[in-house]
Symmetry: C2
Subunit: 327 residues, 2 copies
């Protein structure tokens, strides 16, 4: 009898675990739509079944997997280096976006968009080896603390998204980051933070060169933009880097509009494979931030209007997420 | 007794299978070095052990995974389209590399190197959608036959390399192609031919753009070179696309010199992780082709000289491979 009870308890708890792979998501339409979608594409013999090799999921990063207010985190990282190099570049005092950086006016920098961010990252990170860059980014990520959230930047990742990534991988998905942020910066923390290996990170890049330096191979990061992985650049980045149309795409701003279109819009009448577009709507000023159409960082306007006609899910952060950050 | 015999036979045959994952490789130093290397990096607790996530293997394609004589196969594919478009481009009659293409002088084209090949591919394949390109490449690959080998180009893959790729994957390696050939062309056949998915193909690329055409998302291939994944471009391609230093790299020409350096040369005194560089030396005029230092296609000269000082394995095709092509 006692053994039966223990067995029943054990069975109960494993069933409960299996039944809720997304414990930080509140029950509701959003969570149900995600669970239904994954069930549809993984049910062998079902009408929506998709082979494992084609289960590609792409996630934006800033404001989608981790926070992005009051400014992109990579910008915060870049600022220390820009300031350190400012004496050698007197022209920056009058040239944007450096002028705003040196004036500590992060809002003005962010307002100039991802390209400005990439430009700062480029100047701040160029003329060093890939290893040197990785070491400096790693140092910063290990120590720097978010001014409002009061935790390390790497701990400003979203717990519900960590669960979603794990859930997708447990169901045969390959999870990718497709971000307007710098690919090298992302790779420093993506594996530990999200379980996403470097080869599954797509991002904005600067040029690089190879040479033997004193007989030792080095990659040198060059001060020239290579590719901007934002807006219409996201489907191009997916095409060039992954070479396969995603089954699921998740973003949070107009920078993700084209990625969600590319993922979800049927190509022709026969194209009836289930595809899921997801937008994260920042509606939680208490626990995180609330912003959308008027924000200079992570503006969500056109994509929000397009969501209903395209059938994209819109996550209401305040309503759909029981927890925001990991404990 | 009979059961014991059967059991013994069965045990024997499974042992034999387990003992020879590379049946098309003749026993000898080359095969032994590969088996020893894989054992070293996969033996938990051993001094050379490498976690699965870091087991990256990169393979050149032309002349390494499939044949490349008398000209790169992608060139053969491109020529039909160049000829078809020639009437609209009278200037090609006097401009290289098109002049040589129209004169059926493949040797002259190949002699102009990978960049000329990419240039032909670019003009031949531009101003069409990614889907249109894929369809035309697929058609060609399904039907076109190699002039000397008398088999479809996709069947000119090397059986021993297929076994090596499978063996590496069975030991936790992620296998990548890192080729001077066009990334889009490679992706059309790499998954079926080699078991290498599109997202693990790195190659030379042309620019692409995204648009909605009549409301349907399309990627348009643009007539502008984006990245040349050859020579010093190979470590750069690995850095940008994979973001991790390979554990094993295999090539067949001077175009792979820098990839093998990048993979194998220790970065400092503490860097004692086992790394394997492999060169395929085409020494078999009877079963395939014999060429090295003087060949305009797949020249192997500087890298061959560097092999012994770097400790790279050189596959002697005639001696080390029992079989060349799949039956
Ligand atoms: Ca974002
Ligand atoms: Ca080659």
């Amino acid at each position: 009898m006692r053994i039966l009870l223990i067995a029943a308890l054990f069975s109960c708890s494993t069933t409960a675990l299996a039944a809720d792979p997304l414990p930080s998501w509140n029950d509701g339409d959003t969570k149900a739509a995600i669970l239904d979608f994954v069930e549809a594409v993984t049910t062998e013999g079902g009408p929506g079944f998709v082979p494992i090799a084609e289960r590609i999921a792409t996630f934006d990063n800033d404001g989608c997997l981790w926070a992005e207010q009051p400014a992109y985190f990579q910008l915060a990282f870049s600022i220390d280096r820009v300031k350190a190099l400012a004496d050698d570049h007197p022209e920056w005092k009058t040239t944007e976006p450096f002028k705003s950086v040196l004036a500590d006016d992060l809002k003005a920098v962010a307002g100039q968009g991802m390209k400005a961010v990439a430009q700062i990252a480029m100047v701040a990170h160029a003329d060093m080896t890939a290893d040197e860059f990785e070491a400096s980014a790693r140092d910063w990520l290990n120590t720097a603390v978010h001014p409002k959230l009061g935790r390390r930047y790497v701990d400003c990742v979203y717990q519900p998204q960590l669960e979603l990534l794990s859930y997708l991988r447990a169901n045969g998905f390959k999870t990718f980051i497709v971000s307007g942020g710098g690919i090298d910066f992302l790779r420093v923390f993506a594996e530990e933070a999200y379980g996403i290996p470097p080869e599954q990170v797509v991002g904005t890049s600067i040029k690089a060169t190879y040479e033997l330096r004193d007989g030792v191979p080095v990659i040198i990061k060059q001060p020239e933009l290579d590719f901007v992985d934002d807006k219409a650049g996201k489907p191009v980045g997916i095409y060039q880097h992954i070479g396969r149309r995603p089954l699921l795409a998740c973003g949070n701003s107009d920078g993700d509009l084209q990625m969600l279109q590319y993922t979800t819009i049927p190509r022709n009448e026969e194209d009836d494979t289930p595809r899921l577009g997801i937008l994260l709507h920042h509606t939680d000023a208490d626990r995180e931030f609330a912003y959308d159409r008027e924000s200079s960082v992570g503006r969500l306007d056109v994509a929000l209007d397009e969501a209903s006609s395209r059938g994209w899910i819109v996550i209401d952060m305040a309503q759909d997420w029981a927890t925001i950050f990991p404990e």
